[in-house]
């Protein structure tokens, strides 16, 4: 277990009061894409080139600022200064207190913003080729730029409120982009499902946020000792008990984690992410693989001091245990489903869900650096895989069923090579691929987790399955013989160039996170990174290397045995289906989670809506109708009294009663003149009473 405070003790804290120039201008990073988005929105439809140029240009500029900020953090770090610079400002004043927003530059935000800008920029460029023939090209870039701005806002936020606001905006752009082809009812439905499922998590997040606010009086993370993630506030929350034996810190942490679970597709809120593949493929790569879905992981990393509040070395907290178990379960669960999917993007979607589970588990057991390292490497290789899949889909004339592809390694050599790099990274092939190093770190911390071996075995099994389903997919798509229609063709350079760049990073990024030179971990933890080649010779690490090798060999080997070069017909049952038909059916149908929600949550929603409507029409409304009838009856009685057998002396009084009664009896006929008369009468009466009483 890593505990940040101890490690940073040797470092001088950065000067918080006066933020450096680059920190003062950090807001430009999200602002530039947002402004670009606004400009594009107000442009006329056919002007494609300026739209794309604006979006790409603005994000490029953001990348430059982000790199400058990153360089600043790194240079201070090499001088043994732990950088955490904040700029805070008052957003509104409530009572005597202020609601403050702000942004923060520290190793965590610096690393994340560079990743988001860089991967985002490559995907923007790729989109120029991918969306070339779409009639709504400009709107696509408008939404993409808005997304990038909002996502970068999440990254730099130094206030849970600002983070939440950008978080919801990110959700909005995700909604808009999943439903980009809105004329397809399935896309519109998927967009709605995504928004609502994540909003389930978000209402817990909102509760956690208002609770945190009420407890600590601030939503700033860091504010020279007065922030909510700083020891003073954390101590207060630890001392406050709440329900179920949790401290307030634990309960708030869990509520916030519910929001993170929604956004990051963790069990049981994962159902929206596979459906989100209805969006254009660059969207899947950018939002639903590399960046937005990782925002949940980032959020947990950001509030890690809260999640781990009160931890002792070698221990854990209630919140972190939940994060661990949810993450590990998700990792295994989604990997199982991915085995039996046939849509190229859906396989990757479940794979993403599974990998996000790894990140969460890494955060839960190994700390911020372990989870974040996998987040960064995954962003590169999963974006690569999605864009490769997009290239394949493009080349196969919008075909997405892997059974109707095959042999593409000769028709699309560049796509194949880059895709293979991504696939090997995802499988965790040792030494040469980044995925190995980052996944290894997670397995290592799982192995050392003293509370249970459950997560470790789940993650190992998940890793075997990952290697298996990726091998199955690659065999179907790139090996065997061509089973599709027409001729497959390689994609243009504007699409393959980003693939090549990402493939490079899918391999090279591992270099910054090896046990011998754990640069990334040291950077995030703000301690010195030392090169120590002996780490490779440690028995513990060698054991893990051996385990990983076995995982990869078993996974890839069994996958190749079943699917390699077989080129089965699309109608033929799957190799696994023949072996285990009932298991296959369950996995193919996604373990019936959607169906379960259909008969529970969705049914409850519809049923309760009808109850509310029924209550309105018949109970509350019924009371009104009954009262109206009572008045009518009363009026009738009065009328009868009036007409029959009443002597003339009583007539005048009765007239008034009848007028009053008849008035109300006309509830349905609406003779308002009489009401006005009554109103006038009332005013006169009021005046009379007033005179009378004041005299008296």
């Amino acid at each position: 277990m890593l505990i940040q405070e101890e490690l940073t003790a040797a470092f001088h804290p950065g000067m918080q009061a006066c933020a450096s120039t680059v920190t003062q201008y950090l807001w430009l990073i999200p602002a530039m894409p947002m402004v670009a988005s606004g400009v594009i929105a107000l442009m006329k439809q056919p002007r494609r080139k300026p739209a794309a140029a604006l979006a790409i240009g603005s994000l490029g500029l953001s990348l430059l600022v982000a790199l400058a900020a990153f360089a600043h953090v790194v240079s201070d770090w090499t001088q043994h200064i732990a950088v955490r610079e904040t700029v805070n400002f008052t957003w509104m004043q409530v009572g005597a207190s202020h609601v403050e927003l702000g942004w923060v530059l520290d190793p965590l935000s610096a690393a994340m913003m560079v990743m988001v800008c860089f991967v985002g920029l490559l995907i923007f460029i790729y989109s120029v080729g991918y969306m070339e023939h779409d009639e709504n090209f400009t709107r696509f870039f408008c939404f993409l730029a808005l997304f990038a701005g909002a996502m970068l806002g999440v990254v730099i936020a130094n206030s849970l409120l600002l983070l939440f606001m950008c978080w919801e905006l990110v959700g909005l752009t995700s909604y808009l982009l999943i439903g980009f082809w809105y004329q397809k009812p399935s896309a519109a439905a998927a967009a709605k499902k995504a928004f609502l499922t994540t909003r389930v998590g978000d209402i817990f997040f909102l509760l956690g946020m208002v609770w945190l606010f009420a407890q600590t009086g601030t939503l700033l993370f860091y504010n020279s000792g007065a922030g909510s993630m700083e020891p003073l506030a954390l101590g207060g929350m630890l001392a406050t008990p709440s329900a179920l034996g949790l401290t307030a810190a634990g309960a708030i942490g869990l509520l916030i984690f519910a929001g993170a679970a929604g956004k990051s597709g963790q069990l049981p809120l994962h159902v929206w992410l596979p459906d989100a593949m209805e969006g254009p493929t660059p969207v899947s790569a950018l939002i639903h693989a590399a960046t937005m879905v990782a925002a949940g992981v980032y959020l947990v990393a950001r509030v890690y001091p809260l999640m781990s509040a009160g931890i002792v070395p070698g221990g854990t907290t209630a919140a972190l245990s939940v994060v661990t178990w949810v993450g590990a379960s998700t990792a295994l669960f989604a990997a199982l489903i991915a085995v039996a999917q046939n849509d190229i993007k859906r396989i990757l979607a479940y794979s993403t869900v599974s990998q996000l589970g790894y990140m969460m588990a890494g955060l839960g057991m190994g700390g911020v650096a372990v989870g974040m390292f996998h987040l960064i490497t995954h962003a590169f290789f999963k974006a690569l895989l999605f864009m490769g899949a997009g290239s394949v889909i493009h080349g196969c004339h919008e075909e997405q069923d892997v059974r109707k592809m095959g042999g593409l390694r000769s028709a699309m050599p560049l796509t194949f090579l880059t895709y293979a790099a991504g696939m090997l990274a995802l499988c965790g092939v040792p030494i040469f691929f980044s995925g190995f190093w980052s996944k290894d770190a997670i397995l290592e911390s799982a192995h050392g987790w003293t509370f249970s071996h459950g997560p470790y075995f789940m993650l190992v099994l998940g890793a075997v399955l990952t290697a298996f389903y990726m091998t199955r997919q690659v065999s179907y798509v790139f090996f065997g013989t061509w089973r599709g229609h027409g001729h497959a063709h390689e994609s243009p350079a504007v699409m393959t160039m980003p693939l090549a760049i990402l493939a490079f990073f899918a391999m090279a990024l591992g270099l910054i996170g090896t046990p011998a030179w754990p640069w990334f971990r040291a950077f995030l933890d703000s301690r010195a990174a030392e090169l120590d080649m002996h780490a490779f010779a440690e028995p513990g690490w060698l054991m893990l290397l051996a385990t990983s090798t076995v995982i990869v060999v078993v996974g890839i080997g069994s996958g190749w045995l079943l699917y390699g070069n077989k080129s089965p017909d699309a109608e033929e049952p799957d190799a696994l289906e023949r072996a285990l038909p009932p298991v296959w059916a369950v996995l193919r149908d996604r373990i019936y989670v959607d169906e379960l929600y259909g008969v529970t949550v969705i049914a409850f929603y519809g049923w309760w809506a009808r109850v509310a409507d029924w209550l309105d029409r018949f109970v509350w409304g019924g009371v009104v109708t009954a009262v109206a009838w009572l008045f009518r009856g009363w009026a009738q009685v009065n009328r009868l009294l009036d007409v029959h057998g009443v002597d003339g002396g009583f007539d005048k009084g009765c007239d008034e009663i009848a007028a009053g009664g008849g008035l109300i009896s006309r509830v349905q006929s609406g003779r308002v003149q009489s009401y006005l008369r009554l109103l006038a009468l009332g005013v006169v009466l009021l005046a009379a009473i007033l005179f009378w009483s004041s005299r008296g």
């Binding site: 409530v94 928004f195 509760l207 208002v210 609770w211 009086g217 929603y605 209550l615």
Partner: protein, 505 residues
């Protein structure tokens, strides 16, 4: 402001406008537009001339019938002034939206202006006598607007609206008469001070016996109907649906705020202790209003009814915030929570007014283009032929959903921020309303704007230049207040602090 009776002038202005519009024939809309524009300008001037400490500004006092405790007493604080701006804005939007009144336009716009006068009057009056006159005055034009220009079932709807609100008013009037008989004054400030000192209850008990709780119920009933609070809301869906859409804008955008305003200006200051006694049932009803309002909206097939119920839900948050104030709590943290809740309530009043007004305006546009169609299932794929309408209405819809960055979020956030520490149970249950509202609104978008375009809507006309120009400032307000809520809070917060300092629960 140099002794100029600005508030009186503001209230008289629409009355004069109404008189002119009545005889202006087909120029009536122009007259109404001009009048409401001037009204908006004056209300903004009022807004900028408020005292910084949140107390009553622009006060006008004149003896009227002193022996009766009747005094002509006007004044506005941040709350009143914000409601003036809202009323002026919503009336302007409504007049703008009503460019298809062919039958008796003179009378129509005269009534609209009269309604505006009623709103201005009741948001500035500080004496029960003329406050009540304006409160009732606004009801009459509303009734005739529904009755004469409404939809197919306008008759019963108008009557239900009138009778229901009238019943509430009678209860309110009776309660206030009792207060007057006991204290001899009808001045809000005086009564509030008495209530804070505890002498109000003493006086009432001395004169009439232990009836304070009944009086509180009577006053609450009047406002509960107007806001509305479940189960006194059944008049609302039919009324909102059958009123012509521009009139619905007025009903939901401005008139529903009279109820919340009344709670804050009269009910809570005078009957704080009684409300505190009844806080559990009241909070429960508020939670029911929020949750069932949202869920009932989910069952509706008529766009106007959907948003009618959605309005019930949104104003339910205001009630939630107000009743949570009555939960006993002490200390600086509790004061901050109360201030947050009350700021949120007042922001929510304004934001809901603007957003709901805009939504019914959009519905008016859709009805114009489709021959009066407003069934949620009758549309589909409209984003294709009408992208600008879809985009602008989309922004208004997301504002209603409470998306951060737009106005709706800020009020709801502050209300939950305030209510959660005061009554976490109420907050935890009513937060479901946010989820259900999101489902309702996304379903509307899905059914109306996405999917394939049906044959008959293939050439559905998009918003034309004039409409875009008219709607753009409204959308601008949604964005502006979503990003810079301090623009409103700078005057609201001092008022909130001031009010809370005087209230006793």
């Amino acid at each position: 402001m140099n002794g100029l009776p600005v508030l009186t002038l503001l209230t008289v202005l629409p009355m004069v406008g109404a008189a002119i519009a009545l005889f202006a024939g087909r120029h009536a809309r122009g007259v109404a537009l001009l009048t409401t524009l001037i009204g908006l300008a004056i209300s903004l001037v009022v807004w900028t001339h408020l005292p910084a400490d949140g107390s009553m500004g622009l006060v006008e006092r004149m003896p009227w019938a002193p022996s009766l405790g009747i005094e002509y007493h006007l004044g506005v604080d941040g709350l009143g002034a914000l409601m003036l701006v809202l009323s002026a804005l919503v009336t302007l939007m409504s007049v703008d939206a009503a460019h298809h009144v062919h039958r008796q336009p003179g009378l129509y716009f005269a009534l609209v202006l009269l309604l505006e006068a009623g709103l201005f009057g009741s948001f500035t009056a500080l004496n029960f006598f003329h406050w009540f006159l304006f409160w009732e005055l606004s009801l009459i034009p509303a009734f005739f607007l529904i009755k004469l220009w409404g939809g197919a079932k306008r008759g019963p709807a108008a009557t239900q609206f009138f009778v229901y609100t009238m019943a509430g008013s009678v209860a309110l009037l009776l309660s206030f008469l009792a207060v007057f008989l006991s204290t001899g004054t009808m001045d809000f400030e005086q009564l509030a001070n008495m209530a804070a000192a505890g002498t109000l209850e003493q006086a009432v008990v001395a004169h009439l016996g232990p009836v304070m709780l009944w009086l509180a119920m009577g006053v609450l009933a009047g406002f509960a109907v107007k806001v509305p609070l479940a189960p006194f809301h059944t008049w609302l869906p039919a009324t909102y649906a059958e009123a012509p859409s521009p009139v619905t804008m007025l009903l939901t955008g401005a008139m529903s705020k009279m109820g919340v305003y009344g709670l804050l200006r009269i009910a809570v200051p005078l009957f704080g202790r009684q409300i505190a006694q009844m806080r559990t049932p009241l909070l429960t009803l508020a939670v029911i209003t929020v949750v069932m309002g949202a869920w009932a909206a989910a069952a509706q097939k008529d766009l106007k009814r959907v948003f009618a119920y959605s309005s019930v839900n949104h104003l339910g948050y205001c009630l939630l915030g107000i009743f949570a104030l009555a939960v006993p709590a002490a200390g600086v943290a509790a004061q901050t929570s109360q201030a947050a809740a009350l700021n949120g309530v007042i922001l929510q009043m304004f934001n809901h007014g603007v957003t709901a007004g805009a939504l019914f305006w959009f519905i008016a546009m859709m009805q114009e283009r489709s021959g009066g169609e407003r069934g949620i299932d009758h549309f589909g794929g409209l984003r294709k032929p009408a992208p600008v309408l879809a985009g602008m209405m989309g922004i208004a819809l997301f504002s209603s959903l409470g998306l951060p960055g737009l106005n709706g979020f800020v009020g709801e956030f502050l209300i939950f921020r305030g209510v959660f520490p005061l009554s976490w149970q109420a907050a935890a249950v009513s937060i479901l309303g946010l989820l259900v509202t999101a489902a309702v609104i996304l379903t509307v978008i899905q059914k109306v704007f996405t999917g394939p375009v049906p044959e008959k809507w293939a050439s559905f006309p998009d918003m034309h230049g004039g409409e875009r120009l008219a709607m753009a400032p409204v959308i601008g307000i949604m964005l502006l207040l979503g990003l810079l809520p301090q623009l409103v809070l700078e005057h609201v917060n001092p008022t909130v602090v001031n009010l809370l300092a005087h209230w006793r629960f």
